[in-house]
């Protein structure tokens, strides 16, 4: 890579060990992709996780004097004090999480602890060059907003945030942003859970690739796009997609492929999405907990959950959780949604991800969720996946049939 004199200085450690470690990582990535140079970024999102790998790198940077040069938001870890009051968390795990959160504060990150920073705390504009990690964030920012980011890891995004730069490769180059697979959507896509299933199916089909989805005639809603992004970038590695006419960079299929529309296409039918759903189901009957908010629930989803729980009582044998950001919870509280959910026996928890060690109390239990991503990481004995309405219904009855 050709580095400027300033960049060489950072790499040689003249500005401290923290930024040097960050630059070493960026140069390793740049070299691997044959990037010619670094380019400036305007913001970053580090998918912090409160786990050992995360701790090692953020402390290396923070203790080495590095500070974020551009706005850099953070992903959920978990609300340590809140969980400590409820159940036993292994003290070494809690210590890792506490140190991670301290180190992100020290490095000057935005302490959003949210996986949807692009909605509230750290919003890119069309055409911005950014470094956003997190499953839903990368494809959302590239496709729905039209900023450019690669499929970053927490550490490469944080490194970019403290150096203010990223290697020029991948999706920062226009030619690499063209569609690779044509998918004709014949499925009716009636709501946000259908987009979850669509994401699961698309990810499984493409692996690494940029799908162009034709045939969608109704404008997708924000939450539908979030779910689609989160799932397709978990079951596969989808950094970008096109829904011509609705996502910003291409109005037509032709434009999405930059001219070369492929002959072959994958057809997505209702039957295909139904089979995708059936493949996920491994349990039924009695459930011990319901976990929603992976990705974090938006205000609209909080309203929907509150509406479904209004006047209901969650079954005594079921714990009911919704994860969201501190920002969204504050507003949902003001709107009365949190009170409704709590009156029904549910809890709204902030700063927390479903994939964190704070939930070990449920590891031998059977749960239910509207997020296949929650089921994927096998933190629990078994997880039933279904839409929000089914989850609420099962929570009230204590079982899913």
């Amino acid at each position: 890579m050709n580095l400027t004199r300033e960049e060489e200085k950072v790499l040689n450690g003249e500005l401290g060990r923290g930024t040097q470690a960050a630059m070493e990582l960026l140069v390793a990535i740049g070299d691997a992709y044959d990037a010619e140079k670094m380019i400036s970024i305007s913001r970053a999102h580090a998918a912090s996780s409160g786990q050992e790998g995360d701790l090692y790198f953020v402390e290396l940077l923070a203790n080495g004097g590095a500070r974020c040069l551009v706005p850099t938001s953070t992903n959920p870890v978990y609300d340590i004090d809140f969980f400590h009051r409820l159940f036993e968390i292994p003290s070494d795990e809690a210590e890792v999480a506490r140190r991670v959160m301290e180190a992100y504060k020290k490095v000057g990150a935005i302490l959003s602890w949210s996986c949807l920073p692009y909605l509230t705390e750290n919003i890119p504009l069309f055409g911005e060059t950014v470094a956003f990690s997190e499953s839903s964030a990368t494809p959302y920012v590239n496709s729905v907003i039209g900023a450019t980011t690669n499929r970053e890891a927490a550490q490469s995004a944080l490194a970019a945030g403290v150096v203010g730069k990223t290697p020029r490769y991948g999706l920062h180059i226009k030619e690499n942003r063209k569609g690779t697979v044509l998918m004709k959507v014949e499925a009716s896509l009636r709501g946000s859970f259908d987009y979850t299933l669509l994401g699961q199916f698309v990810g499984e089909q493409i692996g690494y690739g940029i799908p162009v989805l034709s045939g969608i005639t109704r404008r997708p809603k924000t939450e539908e796009l979030i779910n689609f992004c989160a799932m397709s970038n978990t079951s596969g590695a989808m950094s970008m997609f096109y829904i011509p006419g609705f996502t910003v960079e291409a109005q037509t299929v032709q434009e999405a492929f930059q001219g070369d529309v492929p002959q072959d296409k994958i057809i997505v039918t209702d039957a295909e999405l139904k089979r995708t759903w059936e493949r996920m189901q491994t349990a039924s009957g009695k459930i011990d907990f319901v976990m929603l908010g992976c990705p974090h629930y938006t205000l609209k989803q909080m309203a929907e959950a509150a509406r479904l729980l209004e006047g209901k009582k969650i079954h005594g044998g079921v714990s009911f959780w919704i994860c969201t950001s501190a920002t969204t919870k504050a507003l949902a509280k003001r709107m009365g949604y949190v009170d409704t959910i709590e009156r029904a026996g549910g809890s709204v928890v902030v700063d927390t991800c479903i994939d964190e060690p704070c939930w070990t109390v449920y590891k031998d239990k059977v749960g239910m969720t509207d997020s296949p991503k929650c089921a994927y990481y096998r933190r629990f004995r078994d997880v039933v996946v279904a839409g929000l309405e089914d989850c609420v219904g099962a929570a009230v009855k204590g079982k899913y049939e």
Binding site: A32, E52, E152
Partner: protein, 141 residues
């Protein structure tokens, strides 16, 4: 019988040098779905299910799954001295590069021959990422 040794050029992604028995996977790998206390792959449907990747030279197409878990998975193996000695991949992706940098596992790609033809599980493989050389020794005995 005499062992046969082949030297192949490769492209360094993460530096260092590692030697061990080869373990070949034709499917992408998520390190989070291995047991951090043993190195055994616990993803039931994976072709390496039940196999141990600790201290092996791992040959695989690419990484998979979300960045958070991939990095933590490899890092935990490293903390327990159970990480692969080196990794040879076909496709690089940012998350795998970061995982390898953090866990200090040598990582190379662009082997001058198809790695799945040149290397088989059980071969003794030395990866010298610094020199860009992979040495493969077939064990016939």
């Amino acid at each position: 019988m005499k062992d046969e040794e082949t030297r192949l050029k490769c492209h360094k992604i993460v530096g260092g040098c590692g030697e061990g028995k080869a373990l070949v996977s034709h499917e992408p790998i998520c390190f989070y779905l291995t047991d951090p206390r043993t190195g055994i792959v616990r993803e039931k449907t994976h072709e390496l299910a039940g196999k141990n990747l600790a201290n092996k030279v791992l040959v695989f197409p690419s990484g998979k799954a979300s960045s958070v878990v991939q990095i933590d998975g490899l890092f935990k193996l490293k903390l327990n001295n159970l990480a692969p000695k080196a990794m040879i991949v076909k496709d690089v992706e940012t998350v795998l590069i970061v995982s390898a940098v953090l866990a200090k596992v040598p990582l190379v790609n662009r082997l001058e021959e198809d790695p799945f033809e040149a290397i088989h599980t059980g071969d003794t493989v030395k990866v010298d990422a610094e020199k860009g050389i992979v040495t493969v020794r077939k064990n016939f005995s």
